[in-house]
Symmetry: C2
DNA sequence: CGCCATGTTGCATACGGATGCAAATTAGTT
DNA sequence: AACTAATTTGCATCCGTATGCAACATGGCG
């Protein structure tokens, strides 16, 4: 039986374990009999330092658990390795997935994500002023529709900013977005192929670029194909309940073969409402399609035809832009459109491919 | 036709607008003929400075758009106003909502959230080492089940750490969690009241504290009530598809009146599978309940009885702990249990209350 | 009017690491 | 061996703000 002594009070150096100050490069240097610069260089890839010295320092640093203080480093390099991520809506399941992939990709190249969760009502400038005070290296704005272009320009002044899924031209803001018009047209074509002729569009937030592009693309293509636009619901928000409401309005008129909802959450609400409130069968009585391809769209219950946003590619492109010459971004805003992919599922009568 | 001149090179003051260095306190001070300390004090609430001087400085600062450099401030105060938020799963809809509320509450008291998105496979210590280098003021860990207690202790050494929905005793880690056992018992009682006698449990990630507590609470209460535990499925994950699979296993045996799924996502998968794969009616043939009360649980299609986690209260408590005397947290880890609320809906035959 | 309490202000330095520059060491060349 | 080139190293200083301390100003009071 092992003797289990009480933790002796004098054994521990007066509770230092709790919050002792972390070691500094100078201390470490003194212990090794080298200069503080040497320590700094040991931790700086490509710095001018002999391989054996570097090794000795790093080895000792690992032993005593020294890590360079990132804050001090930020100050002297005036580079934070922090990317500001501006979000205003994490309710739409599309965004958490995007944010997750984004922050992981950034982490992989040594960048951390500082979250700015913008709330509608309150003072936006105040919330964003932290973006400037914290000296983030770049800003990624994820579909924050409540921010005006000028507010964003102000908040990101002097550092590269990339909007995801929102396009503002004639500013210093770069944009990476899904080709919404292309997707909407593809869905129109798909409706046509599946035999629908009288189709409806349900808008999300009407004034957003995503909505407008999807709407225009769809409506235009519909006309080209000679199909009838039997209804068009203007939207207030991208939500499940808005989708339900819109679906019921459309169903009441009984003149629609297929509904294109501006995104998947709307469409899913629509499907539920059609099936449950008006006993309408999807796809037998009416087709439904959405946009995004959130995980739920693939669930057997919904089996929603949709246009998949190229999330991985969006993330890749954004990270590359940030990793690359960011000063180029400052000089000239770039707008990049990425192609998505039609995912035909049962909600439009398509036979889902084998998994 | 509008004449569209080339952007004149000499017209712009040599591109300064692009990335000019922000002004410093010293510069501002010199322009006003005061000392740099005065500027610093003007921006420090409660600092020793005359009201009129402060006003003059702030006014001028606003005019020339000066803002104190947060990085420099962090260095000298050794306080970052940054809270590290460790997450490993943003797929479960419960977490984005939590993160959103959390980060907003923190923002409201001047704290920003630095996201640490932990990935399973890779080197966890390396991912977490940034927590230490960045000198975050505190760490909030959101149900990161893939991190061991010792890894967490190491990563957060010297700064307060709060786990949400995960309880580890005998460490320096504080915990704020829903009273899972209470919730599970409440659901058992509810099943009983609704007339179920043969009940099943579907686990989430088996080894997590949330799962174990819900499981124990449920199973124990079942026994007390004299009900039969007709099945118990061990789980690999908290996912929709795992829920479907488990539900089918249970339905195959035809000996169960009610299923308690370890969380809502599982339950929702379960409901879909029961209805679609085996033509089982919910609630007519079988009851289903979940845990969390994610938004989808309230959707008419699912109408899922569940136990609502007190998200707002969790957030409030966590923020209070951080806002308050954090050194107290370092001295003695606190474990707080918060009560949730049974939300009886139609999936257990309860009539949903009017909204 | 003189003295002390209170309130303001500036000076100097600290925070911890990065880096230009010069000194010192090593390698390479003839 | 002598000398130049290349590599290492340390010194000193800078990054921009916060703050202890001393100097100074103001006000109250006897």
């Amino acid at each position: 039986m092992r003797k289990q002594g009480l933790p002796s009070l004098q054994g521990e150096p007066s509770g230092e374990a709790l919050s002792r100050k972390p070691m500094t490069a100078r201390e470490l240097a003194r212990m090794l009999g080298v200069s503080q610069s040497a320590v700094s260089r040991a931790f700086t890839p490509g710095a001018s330092i002999a391989a054996d010295l570097r090794e000795r320092i790093l080895k000792y640093a690992a032993e005593v658990d020294y890590q360079p203080n990132a804050i001090a480093s930020m100050l002297s390099k005036s580079r934070t390795n922090i990317i500001g991520i501006v979000v205003s809506d994490m309710q739409n399941p599309f965004y958490p997935g995007l944010i997750e992939k984004l922050s992981r990709s950034l982490q992989r190249i040594g960048l951390q994500s500082l979250l700015f969760n913008i709330t509608k009502g309150s003072n936006l400038e105040e919330q964003l002023s932290a973006l400037r005070r914290y000296n983030v290296d770049a800003v990624i704005v994820i579909s924050a529709t409540i921010l005006s272009g000028s507010t964003l320009s102000w908040a990101t002044e002097g550092r590269p900013a990339i909007l995801i899924n929102r396009v503002i031209e004639d500013t210093n803001l770069s944009c990476v977005a899904c080709n919404n018009a292309e997707g909407a047209r593809a869905l129109a074509d798909h409706f046509y192929q599946q035999g629908a002729r009288r189709v409806a569009y349900v808008a999300g937030l009407s004034h957003t670029t995503t909505n407008r592009e999807r709407q225009n693309g769809f409506v235009t293509r519909i006309a080209e194909l000679g199909m009838t636009l039997s209804a068009q619901i203007e939207g207030q928000e991208y939500s499940y309940y808005a989708g339900r409401k819109a679906a019921l309005e459309i169903a009441a008129k009984k003149s629609t073969d297929a509904i294109f909802f501006a995104n998947d959450i709307l469409a899913i609400g629509g499907i539920d409402a059609l099936r449950e409130e008006v006993g309408c069968r999807v796809p037998d009585d009416i087709f439904v399609a959405g946009f995004d391809d959130i995980p739920m769209a693939g669930w057997p219950h919904y089996n929603l035809t949709t246009f998949r946003q190229p999330v991985d590619e969006i993330v890749r492109v954004v990270v590359e832009m940030i990793e690359g010459d960011t000063s180029a971004l400052l000089r000239a805003a770039t707008i990049i459109r990425l192609s998505g992919e039609l995912v035909a599922r049962r909600s439009t009568g398509a036979e889902p491919k084998a998994q």
